[in-house]
């Protein structure tokens, strides 16, 4: 049985493909892409993609699936459903679960769960240090063997620069990147939002931009010292963008991601103490948003990632200081990224590139392309179809989004993983 996607506008940056074509999928592989393919067999499913975009399934390099340990926030099953609805065929999950993914048995558990309950591909990230405590290296080699595609300290940055250097040196032969949540906890000083005019008005403790920039600078320098590829998570400030730009100019092996919320919103969203606008790194100011958008446009920022961080409503409906950091993103990322395309800031091709082949190359996973013979992970979406963001309808368990009620454009009609249609909506 196969799937024939007809008349879609196929965009695949990995092959510089940008034209109306048909795609034929046989089994779990892409069989053929050409102007016109007639249904070879009666049992084949035909998708009419007329007027829609057909692209490699998106890869989200930054997701919190919460399982094991925080199944009330999200499970591998619901997180994967949310991903599928958002057009993502692969999610890369961060290690800050309970227990922390700092050894092969947790990695194996996640992958087993993902195989049995998850409808999209799950690629785990291992912790840099045991228990994310920042004291001793986690079982990096074993985790890599078990299937981890990178190591990260997301959520709990490694404070000790010497230890970070050791991690970079140690991981290098395994060929997986270090993914850094760049934050200097001393400068953050227990802050809950961006330090600036708004935090001053609201009387909330601020996290200065410098808290991120100091750590971005440190990790770039350590990457240059060790030669280990460094991927910088959720860049949120103007000067972080500058630091990455300068590092790339020097030829450093550095990549960076930005989230839809950081290139869309400012800290003004927090007025009224909106805990659904509380995340880390925090929403910054307009000049930072402008710099991130510029970085996306000029290629300084390589990847769009969501930092999907679901929490229960009870956890968020509390005093701002007590609310956990994080918002959901899988089901709004495509349309928020398309906003940049509709506004003429990046091309559709560039957007797709940042969601497919680039994250795939950073992690060294065989995804993100429609090249004949490759695994058939495909998304079909209508970039013009409008809708209202309704958190109650999310597949994710998390409802924590600052975009509730927003009118956005861009809806996924079909998501295909390994040749199977796992999500469709017409």
């Amino acid at each position: 049985m196969g799937v024939l996607i007809k008349n879609g506008h196929v965009i695949d940056p990995s092959q510089s493909l940008d034209m109306v074509s048909d795609i034929y999928v046989q089994g779990d592989r892409v069989k053929e892409i050409s102007k016109r393919i007639d249904t070879p067999r009666k049992s084949d499913i035909v998708i009419d993609a007329n007027g829609q975009i057909v692209a490699p399934g998106f890869i989200d390099i930054h997701v919190h699936l919460r399982e094991p340990g925080y199944e009330h926030k999200e499970t591998i099953k619901t997180g994967c459903l949310a991903a599928a609805a958002g057009g993502f065929t692969s999610v890369v999950c961060m290690p800050n679960t309970n227990p922390i993914n700092d050894n092969a048995s947790v990695t194996e558990y996640i992958l087993l769960k993902a195989r049995t309950e998850g409808i999209v591909n799950v690629f785990p990230i291992g912790a840099i240090t045991k228990g994310e405590k920042g004291e001793e290296l986690a079982d990096i080699g074993e985790m890599c063997e078990a299937g981890c595609v990178g190591i990260s300290d997301d959520g709990m940055p490694v404070t000790d620069s010497g230890l970070m250097r050791k991690a970079m040196e140690y991981v290098k032969p395994f060929g997986i990147p270090v993914i850094t949540h760049a934050e200097d906890l001393g400068l953050s000083a227990g802050g809950v939002m961006n330090e600036g005019f708004v935090s001053t008005e609201l009387g909330l403790r601020g996290i200065p931009s410098a808290s991120e920039e100091v750590a971005v600078g440190r990790d770039i320098i350590l990457s240059e010292l060790t030669g280990t590829p460094l991927h910088i998570c959720h860049v949120s400030t103007k000067d972080s963008v500058r630091l990455v730009r300068e590092a790339k100019k020097r030829g450093a092996n550095v990549t960076a991601e930005a989230t839809p919320h950081h290139f869309t919103l400012t800290d003004r969203e927090i007025y009224g103490y909106n805990t659904n606008a509380k995340m880390n790194p925090p929403l910054r100011t307009q000049k930072d948003v402008d710099a991130i958008v510029e970085g996306l446009a000029d290629g300084t920022i390589d990847v769009i990632a969501t930092d999907h961080a679901p929490h229960s409503q009870d956890e968020k409906n509390v005093e701002f200081d007590l609310a956990p950091f994080g918002i959901v993103g899988l089901e709004t990322a495509l349309s928020l990224s398309l906003k940049l395309v509709h506004e003429g800031i990046i091309t559709l091709d560039e957007m797709i590139k940042k969601l497919t082949i680039v994250p795939s190359e950073i992690l060294g996973i065989e995804r993100g392309t429609l090249a004949p013979g490759s695994i058939a992970d495909i998304v079909v979406f209508d970039p013009e179809k409008g809708y209202t963001v309704t958190p109650g309808e999310f597949f994710s368990k998390g409802r924590n989004t600052p975009f509730s009620g927003w009118e956005l454009k861009g809806m996924v009609s079909n998501t295909i993983v390994s040749g199977k249609i796992i999500f469709s909506c017409n």
């Binding site: 005019f197 001053t200 008005e201 509390v318 701002f320 200081d321």
Partner: protein
């Protein structure tokens, strides 16, 4: 009636007109405290709960007297006897009191924005009695009321706020209110607790008390709040009071009729010398007396607003 707010959460979201209505109403309320029977029947049968998650005898007592003078039934809930210790959330606590019939909730909380959570989620009216480092609207209204009483106006006055601006809810509320009513506001204190962003809020920033005090009509001294870890921000209390404590000599650099205010409780010898606290320039006890009238006005106007 031009006042139609259901909640009073801060001076940041009140208009100049609304602030003036509260001040005018407070003037009428002040007379009640001079009567033989210091009580009016207006809120007979209504229940007000004072929900205090942070210890505060003064503000709580002042609100309680105000509520009783309006004949409301008063419930006091403070953190020492609270179920918060047992892990109950702020919202659940407030909902419990609402179920008992409370139609106005006066809330004091150590975290900025806590009253906003209540205002969003419960039906009762919410009055902010101080939230974290955010706002302390009743205290600022008292300060402004007292200034208006002493100076006959707010517009065009120079008001100086001295101390831990960063962590002070009194400072923020006063800056919002005074700016809206046309006063000029200066702030002064150690650079670590006078962040540059206050200039965007309309305050002029100083680091030297001697310079800042020149030509001001009003000096508001803030309390050094040990519980808010102010002490992380400067080397010692001795150094602080040497630089920013108000003395007779420094006050002489201001005007002849400059008034000195303090939201209390005073740390004598730290923020100001005993000499100043007991000086005729100081109107600190008048602030306390005015507190009842201002809080009566706030409760009365909120009761007239949306809920009940």
């Amino acid at each position: 009636m031009a006042f139609s707010k259901k909640h009073i959460l801060g001076l940041g979201d009140l208009s100049a007109e609304e602030i003036n209505i509260i001040l005018d109403t407070a003037e009428s309320m002040k007379e009640i405290s001079t009567r033989n029977v210091k009580k009016v029947p207006t809120l007979k049968g209504k229940t007000v709960v004072n929900l205090f998650f942070e210890p505060s005898t003064r503000t709580r007592s002042s609100f309680e007297i105000a509520e009783k003078r309006l004949s409301a039934d008063v419930l006091n809930f403070s953190v020492s006897q609270s179920s918060v210790v047992k892990g109950e959330s702020l919202l659940d606590t407030a909902r419990n009191f609402e179920a008992m019939g409370a139609s106005i909730v006066v809330v004091r909380h150590g975290m900025s924005g806590a009253p906003f959570v209540l205002a969003r989620e419960i039906n009762a009216s919410v009055i902010n009695a101080g939230d974290g480092a955010h706002e302390h609207p009743s205290q600022a209204l008292i300060d402004i009321f007292t200034i208006r009483e002493k100076k006959g106006r707010i517009e065009g006055l120079n008001v100086l706020i001295v101390g831990d601006i960063l962590n002070s809810r009194v400072a923020r509320s006063n800056i919002f209110g005074l700016r809206k009513l046309g006063a000029k506001v200066r702030v002064v204190g150690p650079a670590t607790i006078v962040p540059k962003y206050f200039s965007e809020m309309g305050a002029e920033i100083f680091y030297s008390l001697e310079h800042a005090i020149d030509n001001v009509d009003v000096v508001i001294m803030l309390r050094v709040q040990n519980e808010r870890k102010t002490l992380e921000y400067f080397p010692s209390l001795r150094e602080y009071s040497g630089l920013y404590g108000l003395t007779k000599e420094k006050l002489e650099l201001a005007k002849k009729d400059t008034i000195v205010m303090h939201p209390g409780p005073i740390n004598r010898g730290v923020e100001l010398t005993s000499e100043i606290a007991d000086d005729p320039h100081a109107v600190i006890l008048e602030q306390v007396a005015n507190g009842i009238a201002v809080r009566m006005a706030m409760i009365y106007l909120v009761a007239l607003g949306e809920s009940l």
